[in-house]
C-alpha cells in the first residue's frame, strides 16, 4: 500500500475508534440520566420502587393543596382520574400551578408512598396540558373502560374515572 494512503487509513481508523468510544460512553451516560414518566395509577399499583428518580404527573386534585404553617413546604395530590398520588414539595411553585391544572413533578417516592418532588413544572399556557399528563388521563380512561366491560356492563350509569373525592 502507498505510504500516504496507509497514513490516511490509520487516521481514519483512529477517528472511527475515537468516535465509537465517544458514542458508547455517551449512550451509557444517557441511560443513566433519563427520567421515566409514571402515571399516578402506575405509582399506586406499586410499579415504582422508592428512591428512583422519575417524573410523575396528573391533574392537581381540587382542595388537596395544603401549605405548611412555616416555610415553603406544600403537599397536594395529583390524579389521572383513576388513582391519586400525594406529592410533597419544598419551594416556589410555578405560576400556573393551580388546582385542576395538569402538572409534572420530578422526584422520588419515599417509603411512606409520598412523592418527594425536587421540581414542579406547569407550562405557561392555560390551554396546554403536559403531553405526559394527557397520556396518563387517556390511559386511565381506557383502563376504566376495560374494567367496566369486564364487569359485564351491568351498570352502564357508572361515570368514567372515579373523579377525585369532590
Amino acid at each position: 500500500m502507498h505510504p500516504q494512503r496507509k497514513k490516511r487509513l490509520r487516521l481514519i481508523l483512529f477517528l472511527v475508534i475515537a468516535v465509537g468510544a465517544a458514542v458508547g460512553l455517551a449512550m451509557y451516560s444517557l441511560s443513566q440520566n433519563i427520567n421515566l414518566f409514571q402515571t399516578p395509577t402506575q405509582i399506586a399499583n406499586g410499579e415504582v420502587p422508592p428512591g428512583r428518580t422519575i417524573r410523575a404527573g396528573g391533574l392537581v386534585v381540587e382542595g388537596s393543596v395544603v401549605r405548611d404553617k412555616e416555610g415553603l413546604g406544600v403537599t397536594f395530590r395529583v390524579t389521572d382520574g383513576q388513582s391519586e398520588v400525594p406529592i410533597h414539595y419544598e419551594g416556589i411553585l410555578p405560576d400556573l400551578f393551580r388546582e385542576g391544572q395538569g402538572i409534572v413533578a420530578l422526584g422520588q417516592l419515599d417509603n411512606s408512598g409520598v412523592f418527594e418532588a425536587s421540581e414542579v413544572l406547569a407550562k405557561h399556557d392555560e390551554n396546554y396540558m403536559p403531553p405526559e399528563v394527557q397520556d396518563a388521563l387517556e390511559k386511565a380512561h381506557l383502563d376504566g373502560k376495560a374494567k367496566m366491560e369486564n364487569a359485564n356492563s351491568s351498570d352502564t350509569d357508572t361515570s368514567y374515572g372515579k373523579g377525585a373525592g369532590y
Binding site: G100, M129, H141, K145, D157, Y160
Partner: protein, 177 residues
C-alpha cells in the same frame, strides 16, 4: 469504495425518515380519539348558566347535540364562537359546558358575543370536564339522541373541522327523524 461512502449520509437520513414515518403510524393507531366514544355521556346534575335551574343527563337526551366545552379565559373559544353562532343559526343544537369559569363572566360573554347554545351547564370545578377527559377548552363532543357520545374534537371548531363532523351529525339527526 469512496463512492459508496458518499451515500452513507443519505442512507442514515432515509433510515431516520422511515423510523419517523413508521413511528407516527403506530401512534395514530394506538391513540383513540377518546375512550368515551360509543359510551353514554357521564352522569351530571349541574346548574344552568342562563337561569340557574338544575339539569341532569336525562335533559341532554331526546335530540342530537354538539356539546361544546368552553370558558371565558380561553382565547381559542373566543375565536370559535363566531362559527358556533353560524351553526346555531343553521339549526344545530349546541349544548355548552362552561368549564372552570365564573357564571357572571360567562353571562357577560354570552350577552356580548351572542348565545348559540340551547343552554349552558356551569361546571366551575371542572368535575364534568374531568369525567369527559377534557384536557383544555375548547373541546366538542357529538352526542346522539340517546345520550351516547359519537365523536370528539379537540381544539377550535371551524368550517374545515365541521366538514368532517357534519356527515356524522346529519346521520344522527336522520336516524332520529
Amino acid at each position: 469504495m469512496n463512492r459508496i461512502l458518499l451515500f452513507v449520509p443519505l442512507a442514515i437520513f432515509a433510515l431516520m425518515g422511515i423510523t419517523f414515518w413508521v413511528g407516527l403510524g403506530i401512534e395514530d393507531k394506538t391513540s383513540l380519539p377518546s375512550p368515551l366514544i360509543d359510551h353514554p355521556f357521564p352522569e351530571f346534575e349541574l346548574g344552568v348558566v342562563e337561569d340557574g335551574r338544575t339539569l341532569t343527563t336525562a335533559d341532554l337526551q331526546g335530540k342530537p347535540a354538539l356539546v361544546n366545552v368552553w370558558a371565558t379565559w380561553c382565547p381559542t373559544c373566543k375565536a370559535e364562537h363566531a362559527f358556533l353562532n353560524e351553526l346555531a343559526a343553521d339549526g344545530v343544537r349546541i349544548v355548552g359546558i362552561n368549564y372552570k369559569d365564573d357564571v357572571e363572566k360567562a353571562r357577560d360573554w354570552l350577552a356580548a358575543f351572542g348565545n348559540p347554545y340551547d343552554y349552558n351547564l356551569s361546571d366551575p370545578k371542572g368535575k364534568l370536564g374531568l369525567e369527559l377527559g377534557v384536557y383544555g377548552a375548547p373541546e366538542t363532543f357529538l352526542v346522539d339522541a340517546d345520550g351516547i357520545i359519537r365523536a370528539k374534537h379537540i381544539g377550535d371548531l371551524n368550517a374545515d373541522v365541521w366538514k368532517k363532523l357534519k356527515p356524522q351529525f346529519d346521520a344522527m339527526s336522520g336516524a332520529e327523524q
